[in-house]
């Protein structure tokens, strides 16, 4: 488990950044009471403002046809502060991703957590408390 995941685990407030911080559209489009997990291959990782988007090609269940899922997180500026970079995900990476699904039923959601299957690296969403909880002036 890398350092920033450990750091996030220490945050007691369970509020995910994605609940409120997807600038310019509200979190309410996602059903935050649910978690969906998919396993597939990264098609594209858009390191763009206002939202980073991870595109994953995955079958929702075994035997079903593959679909493209768009999984959003906050901005590059906010994510770089917990260790994400434009190379956190790369096309072709095999991933297992947990996310809060879109209420509309479309293939997308708010990113919560990912496991990069080949390296074992874990990637977490930014928690609101981490983003805004205290000064860091050491």
């Amino acid at each position: 488990m890398n350092r920033f995941v450990t750091f996030l685990a220490a945050i007691s407030l369970p509020v995910l950044f994605t609940q409120a911080a997807l600038a310019h559209h509200s979190f309410a489009m996602f059903d935050l009471t649910k978690t969906v997990t998919i396993e597939g291959t990264v098609k594209e990782f858009a390191w763009t403002n206002p939202h980073v988007i991870l595109w994953v090609v995955a079958a929702p269940k075994d035997g079903q046809p593959e679909q493209v899922w768009s999984l959003e997180s906050t901005s590059p500026g906010n994510l770089k502060r917990i260790g994400w970079t434009k190379r956190t995900f790369n096309p072709g990476d095999r991933v297992r991703v947990d996310f809060s699904p879109l209420r509309s039923g479309e293939t997308g959601g708010a990113f919560k957590h990912a496991l990069l299957i080949d390296t074992g690296k874990e990637v977490e969403a930014l928690a609101a408390a981490t983003a805004s909880g205290k000064p860091d002036i050491e």
Partner: protein, 276 residues
């Protein structure tokens, strides 16, 4: 004789022109070059260096604990928007990546900002909206009599000790007085904001706002918004062009790297089509 008359005419015209220019200059103030004394005066101001991140947990808390004094008609609209959000149909306050505007930037932004002092000016630079900014004139000028209406309005400021007092008018009526990204109301004009910004601790900045919005509020609304200082370089402000997400990075038929506009849905959100 003709030649003498022409000379006289030219001289008279020149005098008239100079007079006109002199009058124009007197009603057309300049920004004087800062002096050494002006720069030295900045060293007496409080230290607001670093990057400031908003306290979002407090923002969310205040949605319930510090409700603006909405007029009855607006309160009904707000109630509807809250119900829509609860039902998973959030209203989109910041349609099309338009600026969060004032006072919503100070109230509900999720993004970092920095604050710079230069002679006669305080400038707030935000990370989002590519990149948003507020110019606050501290050179003693007044508001224009008839300001152009803008997203952030016209701001003048002065220092009272270590507190920056900002007065803002001229905000566009169509911009939202918002309590969250899904709940807000167009301010409908005549907004006046007084802010008192000051350090509440070595790493904590408070913006005490008093917002007068006569078409949507029954009385001025007071709220304090909290920002935390970050000194680690990983917090350095990065470019944050909101509209970038409305385009797809792709190549044209000649192999040039281009940004291709995405379609928008009925809510004004870009529909990412790279999946198609």
């Amino acid at each position: 004789m003709n030649s003498l008359f022409r000379t006289f005419s030219v001289a008279a015209s020149a005098l008239l022109l100079m007079g006109t220019m002199a009058r124009a200059q007197s009603s057309d103030p300049i920004n004087p070059p800062p002096t050494r004394k002006d720069w030295l005066a900045l060293s007496k101001l409080p230290d607001w260096s670093g990057v400031w991140t908003p306290d979002m947990i407090d923002q969310m808390k205040q949605v319930k604990t510090n409700v603006p004094p909405w007029t009855p008609a607006v309160a009904k609209q707000i109630e509807f928007l809250e119900a829509e959000e609860k039902a998973g149909r959030p209203f989109l306050v910041f349609k099309g990546c338009l600026p969060e505007s004032m006072p919503a930037w100070m109230l509900i932004s999720h993004n970092a900002m920095e604050i710079m002092f230069t002679p006669g000016r305080v400038t707030m630079l935000g990370e989002s909206d590519g990149n948003r900014l507020r110019r606050i004139y501290t050179d003693g000028r007044k508001h224009p009599d008839d300001p152009d209406l803008t997203f952030h309005g016209h701001s003048i400021g002065h220092w009272e000790g270590d507190t920056l007092v900002i007065d803002t008018v001229g905000i566009m009526p169509e911009t939202f007085l918002a309590v969250s990204e899904a709940v807000g109301i167009p301010n409908n004009g005549d907004v006046h904001i007084v802010e008192r910004i000051h350090l509440a601790g070595p790493g904590t900045l408070h913006d005490d706002l008093e917002i007068t919005a006569p078409h949507v509020l029954t009385k001025p609304w007071k709220t304090t918004r909290i920002f935390y200082r970050q000194r680690k370089q990983k917090y350095d402000i990065v470019e944050g062009v909101c509209l970038e997400g409305s385009f797809k990075h792709t190549t044209d038929k000649n192999g040039n790297a281009i940004l291709e506009p995405l379609a928008y849905d009925s809510q004004g959100t870009p529909v990412p089509n790279s999946a198609k």
